[in-house]
Amino acid sequence: MPEDKVIVNNLTKKFGDLLVLDDVSFTIGKGEFVCLVGPTGCGKTTFLNLLVKLIEPTAGEILIDGEPADPKRHSLSFVFQEPSAFPWLTVEDNIKFNLRIKKFPKNVIEERTEQMLKLVGLTQQRKLYPHQLSVSAEQRIVIARSFAMFPDLLLMDEPYGQMDIKLRYYLEDEVLRIWRETGSTVIFITHNIEEAVYLSQRCLVMSSKPTTVKTIRTIDLPYPRNVADPAFISIRQEITDMIKWW
């Protein structure tokens, strides 16, 4: 079992009287790929926003490497549902953005940018602006930008929600490849159970509001996974049954 990277202790969030997260606790190991699945509107995005301090919890704590989570101190990245590439920056300058913000040495910035451009297949488009590319390519810029600083923790909030199946499959393989190469810890939110089983080493199944962690399912199938494999189908069915409300 890898050492703990993220420790979530009794996390609770209320918006007025509305209890969104109720006493959530779990840990994530260093370099682990974890998926969060749960019914739509169960508070998955709220949970990620808490993790990166976009909102403050009502109670509880989130520790990264034993210290309270803080985007300024920790190397965090976030891929939002909508592509969030900066429109005024070219593909390569978008990738360099957080490396520059975090004041990485120039040679490291160049080296990482080249590596990420190659990994997401955008080397030819490096001088183009996001608007000149398709939505999926824009999301790949954001993914490259997020992985470029080899983040301690990368959070992805349904990043492929708007893409068609073919592109999704391609990008899922791509994210696994980058994850393996950079060794980052990834928390990936999705409502697509097949995607969760395909990607993650562990799957956190959330309940409806107020959200709690219903169960944590370890997925020990080898990569690359086969969606038609009976073991794969069986895990997918098991998780589907857990979040079934009908």
Partner: protein
């Protein structure tokens, strides 16, 4: 890619533009040729224009008058842009500053720039400074308002992205909010330039010995309608040239917008 109605190479747009201007000239010609019209014909205006080029008015050539106005507009505009952008950023980014200064700004904002002329003359005399101050007052409002609006309405998704990536407040402003606001700021500057022209003509009509506004008032005093019309056409042409230059600048400063609209 999105196509705008005013795309380059849009033949229909250019053809209709030429048609509408031709119709305006025709209407002008027809009306001014009638017996009771108090308006010079286009031919008389062209002749007067040639006359103004040949013989100086009040000791200054036509180019000298144009340059006098242009200098005032550009000086006022540049100072207003620099101060207006800083002020707009402060309004948009620093809440306490906004809470303190915005009420004062809101009181001053609706006052027409030319209403300040008497006060400015009392404070700064009848020299160049007074006219530049009037232009400044006219230009600064649109720049402040657009910069403020641009910063305040910066895309929340991009702000969140910057925040999560660990940008501090200064980096958030300079690397996210400000670049995101550039198109809005430039729109404000374009607006400022036209209001600056309005103001300079107003100021020159009250007190000046040179400038395009002086030409208008000189034409009015001497019942020289052709000179008034020559001045109006000159103002329109210079404004169009300046807008063209600013549009070009927008293309250089915001290449991503140019590409977006292609």
């Amino acid at each position: 890619m999105k196509k705008t109605r005013f795309d380059r190479g849009n033949l229909k747009y250019y053809a209709l533009s030429v048609l509408s201007v031709s119709l305006l000239l025709l209407a002008w010609f027809v009306y001014s040729s009638s017996a009771n019209a108090i308006l010079s014909t286009p031919m008389e205006v062209i002749e007067r224009f040639a006359g103004v080029i040949r013989s100086p008015i009040a000791g200054t050539s036509l180019a000298g008058h144009i340059w006098a106005s242009l200098k005032r507009v550009l000086t006022g505009f540049i100072v207003a842009s620099a101060i207006g952008i800083v002020l707009g950023i402060c309004f948009g980014w620093f809440e306490t500053f906004r809470d303190i200064v915005w009420p004062i700004f809101s009181i001053i904002r609706p006052i027409p720039p030319i209403a300040w002329i008497p006060l400015v003359i009392l404070w700064a005399g009848i020299g160049e400074t007074a006219k530049i101050i009037i232009v400044f007052i006219a230009c600064v409002m649109p720049v402040v308002l657009n910069t403020f609006a641009g910063i305040e309405s910066a895309d929340p998704l991009l702000l969140d992205a910057g925040k999560v990536l660990g940008a501090n407040s200064r980096q958030m402003l300079l690397s996210v909010a400000l670049p995101d606001s550039i198109p809005t700021i430039i729109a404000g500057m374009k607006n400022a330039l036209s209001t600056g022209w309005m103001a300079v003509v107003g100021a020159e009509m009250v007190v000046a010995r040179e400038g395009v506004g002086f030409l208008i008032i000189s034409g009015m005093d001497n019942l020289d309608i052709s000179l008034v019309l020559v001045s109006i056409v000159i103002i329109a042409c210079i404004s169009a040239c300046l807008t063209f230059i600013l549009n070009r600048m927008e293309g250089v400063l915001c290449p991503w917008l140019k590409l977006e609209n292609k």
